[in-house]
């Protein structure tokens, strides 16, 4: 038996989330297969073939998979599931959407947001917004897991997997894609960026948030935001970091005007170096920041921009 990883991709390129989920799958000790469901997804499949540790890339190229709608993709995975001991997906919006549907159809419990694989049936996962780490044992039978992308290193390139094409599975025709509004930034992906510059309510205005974006661009960084900043309309939803947003694991995390609610800290715990700039010296973020600067952002931001411009 093998492990099946549902790939995250945009048809032409593979997302780094897939390479990280492959690393998680390898901890299960079985051969790893990667499923590329998409439309015109040859580019993504070619990249998956190169991931070290992948045995086989299974490609289902069909218009019905163009937008990764949960109903047809779950049916596709179900049609393959008898050949696999485990099914994994990165805990991205797609993985979180599709995999519970698969688990229910297989009548097995899903383990969400796995941060560590201790053995093929023992897993660690965060609960209560990351306040606690649970170790759970899954029953015998198929394992269905979503894995927290920031908790696993990406599998390197340099492999040579087999590629097989498979026909599409039945499409229940329950939903239809209408359109999408990308929060286009041209910046690195939040979940895999080396540097993340994030802002909170302390920035006060969307205008100041643009200031932060200029700093991010100087550093080649991704832009993140606390829930408060997103709710205030300073930043797009896609920027949100924390319990209900994304988790990040950059080398450097700059928290500007972020107080550090537990829900936010849950999303940045894998960052290597955390820098906090905040006016309030009692802010909880200073309790975990490697470097803290108590300062008024409206002075610190321009200084920072100037210093980085050199």
């Amino acid at each position: 038996m093998a492990s099946l990883v549902l790939a995250e991709h945009n048809n032409s390129t593979l997302s780094e989330a897939t390479a990280r989920a492959v690393t998680a799958a390898r901890h299960l000790g079985e051969p790893v297969h990667v499923l590329i469901a998409g439309s015109g997804c040859g580019g993504a499949a070619d990249e998956a073939v190169l991931l070290q540790g992948v045995d086989t890339v299974v490609v289902a190229d069909d218009p019905r998979y163009a937008h990764m709608l949960a109903e047809p993709v779950a049916m596709l995975i179900l049609s393959l599931a008898s050949g696999y001991a485990s099914v994994l997906a990165p805990a991205t919006a797609n993985g979180k959407n599709i995999l519970p549907r698969v688990a229910a159809l297989l009548d097995v419990p899903q383990i969400s947001d796995v941060t560590r694989i201790l053995s093929p049936d023992h897993f660690e996962r965060p609960a209560y917004a990351g306040s606690v780490i649970e170790t759970v044992a899954a029953p015998d039978g198929k394992k269905v897991l979503t894995v927290r992308v920031s908790a696993f290193a990406p599998a390197p390139s340099g492999g040579a997997a087999l590629m097989v094409s498979i026909p599409p599975a039945a499409d229940p025709g329950l939903s239809e894609f209408l359109d999408e509004t990308p929060a286009l930034s041209g910046r690195p992906e939040l979940s895999s960026a080396k540097i993340v510059v994030a802002g909170g309510r302390g920035l006060h205005t969307a205008e100041n948030f643009h200031h932060l974006e200029r700093i991010a661009d100087k550093l080649g960084a991704a832009v993140g935001a606390s829930r408060a900043a997103v709710d205030a309309g300073f930043a797009a939803n896609a920027c949100q970091i924390g319990q209900t947003g994304q988790s990040v694991a950059p080398d450097l995390y700059l928290a500007l005007g972020i107080s550090g609610a537990i829900q936010h800290l849950a999303g940045i715990k894998d960052a290597k170096v955390i820098v906090a700039i905040n006016k309030d010296e009692e802010a909880p973020i200073f309790g975990i920041a490697d470097y803290g600067l108590v300062a008024d952002l409206f002075q610190a931001l321009p200084e920072l921009e100037l210093a980085l411009g050199k």
Binding site: A129, V132, E176, D179
Partner: protein
């Protein structure tokens, strides 16, 4: 159209949870409990659909101990019409929740189920999708906006990197994200009125569902603590430190 909203009684989001000394779970003695915040958003959305004339009835369901009746009364005070409590002892896993809700759906035939995208205790985020799977219905998860027109729902979803709009055939399951709406407060007069309303009770046996947990919790522990670092005096000093640490 009838709208069904599952609500969970969870540890209040302001509470800092404490782990039991034997690491077997969370200490829930004397801890403030509230309706899961995502479920409040779901109740609000259902009530708004009724106010817009797009739904006739809002039925709220909770699966949990008898105290969960209080959570249901909060939902009634927000404007739900009817409440059903499925009495269970210990925590029920998402798959069993989905199976119980399937039983309710078969009895009640709702046109739409609106559920929270996750409960803030277990953070699993599974029950809605699992219910949609078991019913063979469409799902619209992480909803940011919702509209119902005839036998279809248009849902705008929060996905990685933007927003996506889907059309779902009804009946369907929607799960709510944070920005779908701002839930109303249940006013005191409405809370008083809700106290007098009937909360129907059932048991898992009524639906023929085995709710015994299938996952075994081995331990619950605190995550490794990050030690705080140092304070710097100026932006210039900060930049120097970051160069020293080789992260710039």
């Amino acid at each position: 159209m009838k709208v069904l909203v599952p609500v969970k009684r969870a540890v209040d989001y302001n509470v800092k949870v404490r782990i039991k000394a034997d690491q077997s779970g969370i200490d829930l003695a004397n801890v403030k409990m509230s309706m899961n915040p995502f479920d409040e958003i779901a109740v609000e959305e259902a009530v708004r659909l009724k106010e817009k004339g797009k739904a006739e009835e809002v039925l709220v369901v909770s699966i949990g101990p008898k105290e969960a009746a209080e959570t249901l009364r909060t939902a009634l005070a927000m404007g739900a019409d009817r409440a059903l409590l499925i009495l269970t002892g210990e925590a029920v896993e998402p798959l069993a929740v989905a199976k119980l809700l399937k039983g309710v759906c078969l009895e009640e035939q709702p046109g739409l189920v609106i559920a929270g995208k996750q409960a803030i205790d277990k953070d699993a985020g599974q029950a809605g999708q699992m219910l949609a799977a078991l019913m063979g219905w469409a799902q619209g998860t992480f909803a940011h906006a919702l509209d119902v027109e005839g036998d279809a729902a248009i849902v705008e979803r929060e996905v990685d990197g933007g927003l996506q709009r889907l059309q779902l055939r009804l009946p369907a399951v929607i799960t709510t994200d944070l920005r779908l709406n701002e839930p109303r407060y249940a006013s005191l007069p409405n809370m008083m009125k809700a106290r007098k309303k009937l909360v129907a009770e059932k048991t898992p046996a009524d639906y023929g569902v085995d709710v015994r947990p299938r996952l075994k919790t081995i331990s619950v522990k605190e995550p490794p603590r990050r030690a705080g670092g140092i304070k710097v005096g100026s932006v210039a000093e900060l930049i120097d430190k970051l160069h020293e640490a080789r992260v710039l």
